[in-house]
């Protein structure tokens, strides 16, 4: 885990003091909302449907038990006893009072957390693989590089007022668990001739105009990574459109320039940037990397699991993943109980997960972009005790990557941008498919729901995606099939006319029935869709 140095502490403390003064002046009526709005947004404070909403950054989704407990404390003391984990590995609080915001930011700073750059047209929270440092298939831990990017991008003077927001993901495995190619910049640490380097994918994103990032450079030596990122941003900052918010993301620039021309300009800029000495000396990177050293795991630990409790065995099969060290495992805690609100956790549940991390997972937790929580370093011998504790708190739903493990944005129940509610649709689908045997029969099926075109619920990347729209004042739901945010990245296609809330649930059932009828051995839903195409599904849905 990265620990703040004196510079980190000073930067965050200075920002808390600055924002506290801005809040004070706003409450005194000395500045208008128009003047205050850009200031509060720079500190993650939105005004949503019911109250102020605070988005707290969880860099690359990693946090320790002390930080997790602080998130519970904030939920309990300042909010309504729960928080919402988001698709950018952050947490949001929906009922924050402006007058409490300075105290909350002080509390966060006390555990090396903040809400800086969780909004605004700047580089947002760097996301990463939730299994980083534990995954059996990674070539290295990507988080030191994500941390380096975090430090480079924090208060970057040139990139604080970009044409639009900017999202970066870093992974180091071929299996993409971070939707890397649907980011403005997706970096994959790769190996070539025994050396590690960074493959740069630039210009991906979802939202109104979804695009998959093209490969801009297949191997950037890691000692040049920051300079190359700087060059990518500089070209965007120079030519990205500021006249039209809908065409302001880097994906539009690259689409209009063409990947080859964008690459040419980046290379030219890189030639200049490299002379500026942006990349840190090796000793500084080594200082950062040392803080992500693997925990002391005993490779001789018992490598078997007592599966005599059938409910436990079901959970192990679905929610526990292989760890790189024998005798250990990665625990995925589903925040998707049937009928629950995807990504929500009460303060008591957050505290419990913190306790489990401290006791069983070398004090580490991860937030996933699928709105779940991970205990990354668990001894197999401790799995049963962990499962029992989770089960007692309603956190042992064995549905990872199944149809009820739904990503859903807050939607119209909370969000001022939304056109339709997402959560009730997620609840109805999860309830319709609540039978676990049926879910397992369907296998991996990633269902993602957004309540508006901004796509916070990643509907473009769902094997089954749902987009809520406003049709003459009534909620309507469009259905998409065939998307993926993984290494087999693809964008979903709209099936046809939309449905009302109950109709969309029925339509999904017709889709899954058709899949079961069409699939061949071993095919996931998305595989069958890709093989047979849209036509049979469309016929099943609309007749």
């Amino acid at each position: 885990m990265y620990k703040y140095d004196e510079y980190d502490h000073a930067m965050v403390a200075a920002r808390v003091a600055e924002f506290s003064d801005q809040v004070k002046r706003r409450l005194a009526g000395e500045i208008t909302e128009d003047q205050f709005k850009p200031l509060r947004l720079m500190n993650g404070l939105y005004l949503q449907l019911h109250a102020y909403m605070l988005r707290v950054a969880v860099p690359y989704g990693t946090l320790d038990s002390r930080q997790m407990r602080m998130l519970a404390h904030i939920a309990r003391k300042y909010d309504r006893d729960y928080g919402h984990f988001t698709t950018r590995q952050n947490i949001q609080y929906n009922w924050i009072k402006l007058e409490d915001a300075p105290a909350i930011l002080e509390d966060l700073a006390s555990v090396e957390m903040h809400a800086i750059q969780t909004s605004g047209n700047c580089i947002r929270n760097i996301s990463s693989d939730q299994w980083a440092g534990a995954a059996a298939d990674e070539i290295t831990d990507p988080r030191p590089w994500a941390e380096l990017l975090r430090q480079w991008s924090s208060f970057h003077p040139e990139f604080s007022y970009l044409p639009r927001k900017f999202k970066i993901a870093v992974i180091a495995a071929d299996e993409d668990r971070a939707a890397m190619r649907l980011h403005d910049i997706g970096i994959q640490i790769v190996e070539k001739d025994g050396q590690h380097g960074a493959a740069f994918y630039v210009g991906g994103g979802m939202g109104r105009t979804p695009m998959i990032a093209p490969l801009i450079k297949d191997f950037v030596p890691l000692e040049d990574m920051l300079s190359y990122a700087e060059a990518c941003l500089r070209v965007y900052n120079r030519y990205g459109r500021r006249d039209n918010i809908y065409k302001a993301r880097i994906k539009i620039l690259i689409h209009e320039l063409g990947a080859d021309e964008y690459r040419r300009q980046v290379e030219e800029e890189f030639g200049h940037v490299k002379s500026l000495g942006i990349d840190p000396p090796k000793a500084e990177f080594d200082r950062i990397a040392a803080q992500f050293a693997p925990p002391p795991l005993d490779a001789s630990a018992l490598d078997t699991i007592d599966r005599s409790d059938p409910d436990f065995a079901v959970w192990v099969d679905q929610n526990v993943a292989a760890h790189k060290v024998p005798g250990h495992a990665i625990v995925n805690i589903s925040l998707k109980p049937v009928g629950g609100i995807p990504g929500d956790a009460s303060s008591a549940q957050i505290d419990l997960m913190a306790d489990l991390a401290e006791r069983y997972s070398h004090d580490e937790l991860r937030v996933t972009h699928a709105q779940n929580i991970v205990l990354p370093h668990v001894r197999k011998a401790d799995l049963y005790a962990i499962w029992q504790a989770l089960d007692g708190a309603g956190l042992a739903t064995p549905n990872l990557d199944l149809i009820s493990d739904i990503i859903a944005c807050p939607g119209l129940d909370y969000c001022s941008l939304a056109n339709a509610r997402s959560i009730p649709v997620a609840q109805k689908i999860a309830t319709r498919f609540s039978d676990l045997g049926r879910q397992k029969e369907l296998g991996e099926l990633k269902l993602k729901i957004s309540g508006c075109i901004n796509a916070c619920g990643h509907h473009h990347a769902g094997h089954v995606g749902i987009l809520g729209v406003d049709r003459k004042g009534t909620e309507n739901y469009q259905l998409l099939l065939g998307g993926s945010g993984a290494e087999d990245v693809s964008l979903g296609t709209i099936t046809g006319p939309g449905f009302d809330e109950d109709g969309i649930v029925d339509a999904i059932e017709r889709v899954t029935d058709k899949y079961l009828a069409e699939r061949t051995d071993g095919e996931r839903f998305v595989d069958t869709y890709r093989r047979v195409g849209m036509a049979p599904f469309k016929e099943a849905i609309y007749g």
């Binding site: 706003r26 409450l27 009526g29 208008t32 909302e33 005004l47 949503q48 449907l49 019911h50 109250a51 102020y52 309504r80 009922w95 924050i96 009072k97 402006l98 007058e99 609100i341 119209l412 129940d413 909370y414 001022s416 939304a418 509610r421 959560i423 009730p424 609840q427 004042g473 009534t474 909620e475």
Partner: protein, 98 residues
């Protein structure tokens, strides 16, 4: 029917113009008729409420209600958390905006 609404400056909570002041309860909302713009200008200057705006409303048996679903949800709370609405004892809270 026209209603004037905004968010309270200090808390951010949804608030409704009652004819003389602001209330958290939609039941207290007054029909501002054609006077909305003038009230809005005065209240914006007073800086007690964030970004007030005028919406279409309708009179119902339960009192005034916003015409559009978004403002009905603002008025009555998230449909998925009836325990967090202003009327938690109402068994039909989850159906308020349907």
């Amino acid at each position: 029917m026209k209603l004037l609404t905004g968010n309270d400056l200090k808390t951010g909570f949804v608030t409704w113009w009652t004819g003389t002041d602001w209330s958290l309860h939609i039941e207290d909302a007054a029909d501002v008729g054609e006077a909305g713009e003038a009230i809005l200008a005065v209240e914006e200057a007073a800086r007690r409420v964030n970004a007030p705006y005028i919406i279409a409303g309708e009179a119902t048996a339960e009192g005034p209600r916003p015409a559009h679903i978004k403002d009905r949800i603002r008025a009555l709370g998230p449909t998925v958390r009836p325990d967090l609405t202003l009327k938690p004892a109402d068994p039909a809270a989850g159906d308020w905006v349907i």
